[in-house]
Amino acid sequence: MVAADNLETLERDILQRIAAAQDEPALEAVRVAALGKNGAITALLKTLGGMTPAERRLHGPTINNLKDKVSAAIAARRETLAAAALDARLKNETVDVTLPVPDAPTETGRVHPITQVIDELIAIFADMGFGLAEGPDIETDDFNFTKLNFPEGHPARDMHDTFYFHPKPDGSRLLLRTHTSPVQVRTMLAQKPPIRVIIPGRTYRSDSDQTHTPMFHQVEGLVIDKGAHLGHMKWILEEFCKAFFEVGSVKMRFRPSFFPFTEPSLEVDIQCRREKNEIRFGEGEDWLEILGCGMVHPNVLRNCGLDPEEFQGFAWGMGIDRIAMLKYGMSDLRAFFEADVRWLSHYGFRPLDFPTLAGGLSS
């Protein structure tokens, strides 16, 4: 028979040992001693079977209470010990978060400024309904000069200026196009008006100094329609300059000039202010020439199978490298083609900086 005070002693004793258990094995030993097959409380529970119903009614709840109390204390202690053990483990699990991680590829990759500027041009002109036309770098004399109304003996046709290939057996010579204008001819021959295209591409002239390289990039615009006139061209070029240089207004000056393939011909200056290494547009008192343009010469229209009495249009051309230099401040054209990673990293553009009119041309 168990006396009540014996039970109390037992309970006190077990709870003390639970509290004293410093780790999981010690706690398990206390559990086994109390609730294991031969544990003290298990032994008490076994005595219930030999009791009369009245005794059982008296002692059963007491013993079961004791068992529940001890079980709960063990569970609580186990949780405490587990938490302490995790804390102890985590204390040793540290990394030096100041160690550098490798640069993201999008951080180191760059697209060339020429690529970026062509993408900017496409964004601006696509919005005005222009498509993109292209043509081969190796051209015929006919497309590069004759159809564009260059007279025989024009200095541009000289070997000093134009790269030629060796003559064919029939005497004809191919050349590297000196401008993107032969693509105007190809476009007019291939497609019926209305025509609205821009033509970016590589061009070649036998020239080399700080602002001239034997290979460079031009972009050309061509509009052929029934009523397309000089006033429209002025508007398009003004819209272009504002969008490209990302200024609210830009003052432009159209000066009469001369090109064999346009009549009237004009050169365009934009107003700017020059500071040491920088040119600011939309302010200042200086003029800077940025492009040549004009109404397509009637002879060129005729040479391309269009009747100048029915169709008319305009064209303009400028250096992509040059407008890149003006906008982004490079001073030496030759560096564009040297593939110096320091220069490309400095003047190049991040791979996901895709120019859009919605997001802004440059970020």
Binding site: V101, P105, T108, P136, H166, M215, G231, P256, E263, H297
Partner: protein, 803 residues
């Protein structure tokens, strides 16, 4: 084209300021390149007289001068010039004056202990000449205190215009004045030369043998002339525009060249033997020209010859032997017309840029041949005296009929959008020398002989709009219209853009390299055919159109390495050439990695083992681009081996079916690198964007509904031992083929050879993903599938399961 303001005013009555004139010139298409206003530059400089010049107490070569500048007390100046002496007159610069020859601002200074409050200057210091031997000495009557620029006639501003090649009329001051008159900046003063009556027949005859090269020739003798220096006013003008005065006869021809755009030539008649013949030169004939150089000629060159031989290069430069000198007493004056194209070709061939060539190749007014000769005659008589002969002519110098253009008034508005009353158009054209007849919608416009550039309606529109002012043409919006929005880029253009951004997003840097490379490089990379070699390359290393982007990238990588940047990843997307026809130009994308420039970062890093770039990095770059371009990645085949510039064992070819080669990747061949003087490790790829098939056009943008299996996928690993030459792709394909329905994927997760594997063999471990479709698979079913995989791989590759 250069001229001075006073010279312009000989032909234009105007009160407009220099700034107004300059601005108007630019706005009517005569772009002003430079204005040299020496009056402004030389403003502080005055005529001064040296009162005394004593030896400097502390320096033998210096003098201490007291200078009367005309303003207040004499000024003390320390001077080192050997010619500084008491009583002379010179040019004084006060402190604060800018000295152009030294590019400094003069300060009050102390020279060897003596204060100097100004300077007596040399011509070099004022950039008037190269003379820096001594200070400028002025005549005794020079007025002390007067502006030196005004005294010396240097106060006439010089204007230089960048003349477009279509305007021969503006190679003379007269033509420029006419343009300004039309633009209402002043009144043009018409000034036709008057004929000078001949007193006797010209004793020298002219015969034109080369009629195609010389349409007209007029000649006249003036005898009894007294040649000497030309008058000061003429010398000043010639000097101001950069010409050296020679003697009156020569200066007159130069003056008329600039005044009227009419080049002339003068022969010393005493040195001419017999009559003159205009003919083609004989091959090998030579001429000592007036520039002191001897030219060897051929039969493309037109010359003027006498009984002794060639005496002048027609329309370009005269000969030394018959040139006029101070002792000339009889002068033959020539006014002729020459074939523009021939003049240009001869000038270019002989490398002569003369004022005569400049004008004749642009087209000299044919109707001014005789008036030009009359004007020259009059000036010779006025300046040198003498008695003129009759004019002798060959060819046809008589004025020609003008060309007439039928001009509808509406043409201006049609081409420019600008509407002007006929009166305004007529005024502009008439002031430019055109003759307008008629009043209706269509008028007739006669073109003056000095405007060979005007052919048709569009040219007249240009004349009107440039003179009226292009700024008066209103900008008119040009809407994009009602057309539906369509892509503006072609498929190829989109591919180019995507390829660039994809490679940049893999950490690579875009290079733009020359389209031409050296012959050696071209040959090494499968090119170098004769039709792609330039006839006139700018440099030997830029001689052949590139067959591949790789040589340019290899050279670029090496340049970076030489600068200390060893681990670079470069790419280029651009044109390559297979032949010289348009369809032979293709667009390639190529990438090149060097050193430790791996796709996951360049250089050494604590987080990974530093390994050099290899074929697999290049393969990954290539496949990344192809995937982005929409190539059918799963259908691509990768075969061992690539063209000769790749490492034979560490390179591959990407193709679609047996015929369509899309590109190559791998390490570069060590021998090729040695030839290019480039160091590795280098791995690269090159693909042709045109070779990627275009995806089929789809009827709808909607995508099919997905089929997701409700059952979990299972993964099973297999390790095989195979012959070392066995291709992993064969094992993967065999495993895949064991059950095409259930096997959703096969990856290779380990490749091993070495300890535990027999020499000549390797172990390849694959992970197979099994995706049950209809029910969960039982262990038995999974086991059976495993057996089939092993059996299939064994059958195809001779593999055994690794024990």
């Amino acid at each position: 084209m250069k001229f001075t303001l006073a010279w312009l005013k000989d032909h234009l009555a105007t009160d407009a300021s220099l700034a107004e004139i300059v601005d108007k010139l630019t706005m009517i298409g005569l772009e002003v390149e430079r204005v040299e206003d020496r009056a402004a530059l030389l403003k502080p400089y005055v005529v001064a007289s040296v009162i005394s010049a004593e030896k400097h107490p502390n320096a033998d070569r210096l003098r201490v001068c007291m200078v009367d500048t005309g303003a207040g007390a004499p000024v003390q100046v320390v001077c080192g010039a050997p010619n500084a002496r008491a009583g002379m007159k010179g040019v004084f610069a006060p402190p604060g004056a800018y000295i152009p020859g030294k590019d400094t601002v003069l300060q009050v200074g102390t020279i060897r202990g003596v204060e100097s409050r100004g300077m007596l200057v040399s011509e070099f210091e004022l950039q008037l000449s190269d003379d820096h031997e001594g200070i400028i000495e002025l005549p005794d009557d020079a007025p002390v205190g007067q502006s030196y620029a005004a005294y010396a006639g240097l106060d006439d501003p010089v204007i230089e215009i960048n003349l477009t090649p279509n305007r021969p009329d503006c190679t003379g001051v007269n033509g420029i004045a006419r343009d300004l008159g039309a633009a209402l900046i002043g009144d043009y003063k018409p000034n036709s030369p008057k004929p000078v009556r001949g007193r006797y027949p010209c004793p020298v005859k002219v015969m034109i043998e080369a009629a195609d090269l010389c349409p007209a020739f007029a000649l006249r003798l003036v005898r009894g002339v007294k040649n000497g220096p030309s008058p000061r006013w003429m010398q000043r003008r010639l000097k101001a525009i950069g010409l050296r005065p020679i003697n009156a006869l020569v200066d007159i021809t130069n003056y008329i060249t600039y005044d009227r755009g009419r080049p002339l030539h003068v022969f010393d008649a005493a040195k001419v033997h017999g009559d003159l013949v205009v003919r083609r030169a004989r091959n090998g004939e030579t001429l000592l020209a007036l520039d002191g150089r001897t030219y060897t000629l051929d039969d493309t060159v037109c010359v003027i010859a006498d009984g002794k031989g060639v005496e002048s290069l027609s329309g370009i430069m005269g000969g030394e032997a018959t040139g006029c000198s101070a002792s000339t007493t009889e002068v033959l004056i020539e006014s002729a017309l020459w074939n523009e194209l021939n003049i240009a070709q001869t000038g270019r061939k002989l490398g002569i840029n003369s004022d005569a060539r400049y004008r004749f190749e642009r087209g000299v007014d044919p109707n001014f041949t005789l008036p030009g000769l009359e004007l020259a005659t009059q000036m010779v008589i006025d300046l040198c005296g003498g008695e003129p002969s009759d004019i002798v002519v060959a060819g046809d110098p008589a004025p020609k009929r003008e060309k007439v253009i039928d001009f509808p008034q509406s043409e201006l508005a049609r081409l420019t959008g600008l509407k002007l009353p006929l009166g305004d158009m007529r005024r502009v054209l008439e002031k430019l020398g055109f003759f307008v007849s008629g009043q209706g919608e269509r008028v007739k416009v006669a073109v003056p002989s000095w405007r060979p550039d005007v052919h048709g309606k569009a040219d007249l529109v240009e004349e009107i709009v440039r003179v009226i002012g292009v700024d008066r043409v209103p900008a008119v919006p040009f809407p994009r219209g009602e057309q539906a929005r369509k892509p503006v880029l072609t498929a190829m253009q989109n591919r180019t853009r995507k390829a660039k951004r994809t490679l940049a997003a893999r950490g690579m840097t875009e290079a733009v390299t020359w389209s031409f490379i050296s012959k050696r490089e071209a040959v090494l990379f499968g090119g170098g055919s004769p039709e792609l070699a330039l006839a006139n390359p700018i440099a030997a290393e830029l001689s052949d159109m590139r067959p591949s982007l790789l040589p340019g990238l290899i050279a670029a990588a090496q340049r970076n390495a030489d600068r200390g940047f060893a681990h670079v990843a470069l790419f280029e997307v651009g044109q390559v050439f297979r032949g010289d026809r348009p369809q032979d130009q293709l667009t390639a994308a190529a990438g090149l990695r060097r050193g430790l420039a791996k796709p996951d970062g360049a250089g050494r890093h604590w987080s990974r083992i530093a390994a050099p770039v290899d074929a697999f990095d290049a393969k990954a770059d290539a496949l990344a681009v192809l995937g982005e371009l929409g190539a059918p990645i799963r259908a691509l085949q990768v075969l061992p081996g690539a063209p000769s510039w790749f490492h034979p064992g560490r390179s591959g070819t990407i193709q679609l079916g047996p015929k369509t080669v899309i590109g190559h990747f791998g390490e570069l061949h060590p021998r090729v690198l040695a030839e290019l003087k480039a160091d590795g490790p280098l791995a690269g790829f090159e693909i042709l964007l045109e070779a990627v098939p275009e995806p089929r056009a789809k009827a709808t943008r909607a995508r099919p509904a997905p089929e997701f299996s409700p059952f979990q996928p299972i993964e099973r690993d297999f390790a095989f031992v195979v012959d070392a030459r066995t291709q992993a792709a064969d094992i993967v394909r065999a495993a895949q083929n064991a059950d095409r329905k259930l096997i959703a994927g096969v990856t290779v997760f380990d490749v091993y050879s070495g300890q535990g594997i027999e020499p000549g063999k390797k172990s390849i471990a694959i992970a197979v993903t099994i995706q049950p479709r209809e029910k969960t698979l039982t262990e038995e079913e999974i086991g059976a599938l495993g057996q089939r995989i092993v059996a299939e791989v064994a059958k195809r590759t001779g593999a055994t399961l690794r024990g």
